[in-house]
């Protein structure tokens, strides 16, 4: 009897330690990277580009077809169209056993904000975070991409953007140059994120078979800045040139930096619509 009571008391003591208390000044340990904005040297390339964000999943059998359509469009536009593949937390993104988990919390945040998760239909894409008649202008890339991209890439850029990145011992240092080609105002954010190519993970194919050798490209890995970007310290007047450098320490050893790229885009802080975008390798 005594042993029983002692055992129970020990168990109770163990359980009561089983709850963590976080002090208020420790709630947030990181709120997105940012850097100081200084006067820049200008940007020679004034190309207007578009970013297509594809919401996809390893258990979505039409997603490989959408990926093919996007790859064809990226090739067709010759550098004017950049792509990222985002895995949110839908039914279609649950990883197969013994496979890498391609889902990210940031991808989930975007998916919910842009109405992708609630709509529950995959694949789906959004170009430059453009609003539609109601909500966001989501579409199935299999049904055609050009009508969403052409109006953007055929227009004159209002902001030119250039990005470069270096890496040493897991610290990625990204430099962004901006040149304001029109008066655009100061209500702008800069968002940086990392994508990775050549990731092998099992994918459900259109014939309902699983392809264990499927290679995922331009996979969204993590945002460097706040998920909605860091504020650009500027007036937004025509002719203004700005530059910043933002550092990010890679915490995930599964990423292969040689296969990673940085995507940088300027967006309107209120509407979240992308103004211009650029991509670079990490040297």
């Amino acid at each position: 009897m005594k042993k029983t009571v002692l055992s129970l008391l020990t168990l109770v003591a163990l359980l009561f330690t089983a709850c963590d208390k976080i002090e208020e000044d420790q709630y947030i340990i990181y709120s997105g990277a940012s850097g100081e904005w200084v006067d820049g040297n200008g940007v020679s390339d004034h190309t207007q580009r578009a970013l297509i964000e594809k919401y996809t999943g390893v258990r979505c059998l039409n997603c490989p077809t959408a990926e093919d359509a996007i790859n064809a469009a990226v090739a067709q536009y010759g550098g004017k169209l950049l792509a990222v593949a985002i895995h949110d937390s839908s039914t279609f993104t649950r990883p197969y056993p013994n496979n890498p988990d391609l889902r990210t919390a940031t991808g989930n945040t975007w998916s919910k904000f842009f109405g992708v998760f609630d709509a529950g239909q995959y694949p789906v894409a959004l170009v430059n975070r453009t609003p539609g008649a109601s909500g966001w202008d989501l579409f199935n890339p299999i049904s055609g991409i050009n009508s969403y991209v052409d109006p953007i890439v055929n227009s004159e850029a209002t902001i030119a953007i250039e990005v470069s990145a270096t890496e040493a011992e897991g610290l990625i240092s990204t430099t962004v140059n901006l040149e304001f080609l029109e008066n655009v105002g100061d209500n702008l954010n800069l968002t940086l994120f990392i994508i990775e190519d050549n990731i092998n993970a099992t994918q459900l194919m259109p014939d309902s078979e699983k392809n264990e050798s499927y290679i995922h490209n331009h996979l969204f890995r993590e945002v460097i800045t706040d998920v909605w970007g860091t504020q650009i310290d500027c007036t937004g007047a025509k002719g203004e040139k700005k530059m910043t450098t933002i550092d990010y320490q890679v915490a995930n050893s599964e990423w292969i930096i040689a296969n990673c790229h940085i995507v940088a885009f300027v967006s309107n802080r209120d509407t979240r619509q992308i103004v211009n975008v650029a991509e670079c390798d990490i040297n």
Binding site: L15, I22, E24, Y27, R103
Partner: protein
């Protein structure tokens, strides 16, 4: 090891069945089988779609072997594919539940899957509801020990079922319950009876895994890996009076449900009742503040992986229009009050008449909390005054009068009023105010034949809006005729029609046959898109148009 265990258990079950459900090593086998199926077609008016599989089915077989103090069981489930309204993640088949159990007078232990509830479930409720598609069984160990009469100690540890997978996170808990009338010999026959209890449940969830959202809208939040809920409860009765209460408190638990705030949670539930022959009265109150307790912070399905349960405080109506807008418990914050009164007017009185008259009145009001924002994500979130109330979420009043008109005819009339805030289902919009009238008459023609008529009317200030597409809106009428030919057959025909400001005409024909422990039911008709709730836990019901069938048997 797991596979070997499953094979042995399955073999045991099969061998036992082949022994004609009895006599194997002194033990016996019992079980039940349920097979539900559905065929649904596209209907542009009600919004139903063709299903690619043509036939959807949910099936299960429960088998239990018992031999003295030992028992073992398993459940085979098959969702090929899951019926409409059930999550697609259920697709597949296999042994979903298995356990072995040993029970003595004062000791019991279960290994494998088990269901358990501490108190009202405010700290732990591992349960299954096949009609909601919820099964959060724990797989692990469940131990019960009674060191002396009137004292029951329970301990659990395990991981929750998640469709065909299992949550990565560990749930463990302890519960103690003391019944003083059993502990204190001199209180054994006392008119006053007192039971108190306490429980402690915690979960462990790593904050390291990449999948966990360390980064939420730009914040890397310092997530607690161990989150706990402690609860105390009491049950006091004296003659016809009863008083029950439970209070639970939850430690910091930033998660998807509460928008990653660090505010601690709590819930208080109280119930006072009085009953005597021919009369009962009950009043319940509760206050819930940030008490959604799940084993995964990021679980996207709002009904899945709950560790605890917040008792519902509104009546679960059975008539169609009264239950058209069921209330879903808002585990993140609500205040509620419910009163329930039943009285039977005796025979041979003015209101009782020849056979007596029953009256049942129920009313409930549920509101949000009165909160003041204190910073959103990565902060304590908000403050709230204990007695402050926010927007009305739900309110209802129902009065039912039931009377036997003759030796063969029973009649019940019900009036109900429902206020419903669509925000509780995650939609914007004005509150709906519905008046419902129901007439229900049963005529028992002889020992074998009876017929039941039901007529309902609902008047609502809601109007069908295509942009919201809530097909419950508008004014409705309904009629139902049900014929029973005991003990085997029944047939029923019903129709619900939105005659004003609404959309849809939902007719149904249903036939059932029962023989012994086997029952077969066939239905054909249309199902309106909506929500069903059982005990405040809800799931969506998509529109359907076609055939349904159900076969159940037990042995």
């Amino acid at each position: 090891m797991k596979r070997r265990f499953i094979c042995l258990t399955a073999l045991l079950a099969v061998c036992s069945m082949s022994a004609m459900a009895q006599g194997i090593m002194g033990g016996h086998v019992t079980g039940s089988i349920q097979l539900d199926g559905q065929i649904s077609h596209r209907d542009t008016i009600i919004g139903s779609q063709d299903v690619p599989q043509k036939l959807l089915s949910n099936a299960r077989a429960d088998i239990l072997y018992t031999n003295g103090n030992f028992s073992a069981g398993l459940r085979y489930e098959a969702y090929l594919g899951p019926m409409l309204g059930f999550r697609p993640d259920y697709e597949g088949q296999g042994i979903a539940n298995y356990f072995v159990s040993y029970k003595k007078e004062n000791f019991a232990i279960t290994a494998g899957h088990f269901y358990e509830q501490f108190g009202n479930g405010m700290s732990l409720r591992a349960y299954e509801d096949r009609y909601l598609g919820i099964d959060n069984a724990l797989r692990g160990f469940n131990v019960m020990y009674s060191p002396l009469s009137g004292v029951i100690l329970k301990g659990v540890i395990g991981r929750q079922r998640y469709f065909w997978l299992e949550s990565k996170n560990i749930v463990r808990g302890l519960d103690a319950e003391l019944s003083f009338n059993d502990i204190v010999k001199s209180w054994a026959d006392a008119k006053t009876r007192l039971t108190i209890g306490g429980s402690f449940v915690s979960k462990y969830e790593s904050a390291v895994n990449d999948w966990i959202p360390a980064n939420v809208n730009g914040y890397k939040v310092n997530l607690p890996e161990n989150v706990a809920t402690a609860a105390v409860r009491m049950d006091l009765a004296h003659g016809g009076f009863g008083l029950k209460a439970e209070y639970a408190h939850k430690s910091q638990d930033p998660n998807d449900l509460n928008n990653y705030i660090f505010r601690e949670g709590n819930v208080l539930w109280m119930s006072a009742s009085y009953s005597q022959r021919g009369m009962s009265a009950n009043i319940q109150a509760k206050r819930v503040d940030n008490m959604g307790f799940r084993s995964s912070r990021t679980e996207p399905y709002t009904e899945m992986l709950f560790i605890n349960y917040i008792p519902a405080i509104s009546k679960q109506h059975t008539y169609s229009f009264l239950s058209m807008y069921p209330y879903a418990t808002q585990s993140m914050g609500e205040m509620g009050l419910q009163g329930d009164f039943m009285y039977k007017f005796k025979k041979e009185t003015l209101l009782g008449g020849k056979y007596g008259t029953d009256i049942h009145i129920n009313a409930s009001l549920i509101t949000g909390l009165d909160t003041v924002d204190a910073g959103g994500r990565g902060t304590d979130g908000y403050t709230s005054s204990f007695f402050g109330t926010g927007d009305t979420y739900y309110g209802d009043l129902s009065v039912e009068v039931a009377k036997k008109l003759s030796s063969s005819v029973k009649f019940a009339a019900t009036y109900g009023y429902v206020v419903f805030n669509p925000i509780t289902e995650g939609h914007a919009g004005d509150n709906h105010h519905n008046h419902v009238v129901v007439a229900d008459l049963t005529w028992k023609m002889n020992k074998k034949n009876s017929i039941r008529f039901e007529a309902e009317w609902m008047g609502s200030d809601s109007k069908y809006d295509e942009s919201i597409d809530d097909k419950r809106a508008g004014d409705w009428i309904m009629g139902l005729v049900e014929y029973n030919f005991a003990p085997s057959w029944f047939v029923s025909v019903s129709d619900q029609y939105a005659y004003n400001d609404g959309i849809g005409n939902y007719y149904n024909l249903s036939v059932g046959y029962t023989k012994g422990a086997t029952r077969l039911q066939l239905g054909y008709g249309k199902q309106r898109e909506g929500i069903i709730c059982i005990g405040g836990v809800c799931r969506n019901v998509p529109a359907s148009n076609g055939l349904t069938f159900s076969l159940t048997t037990s042995f």
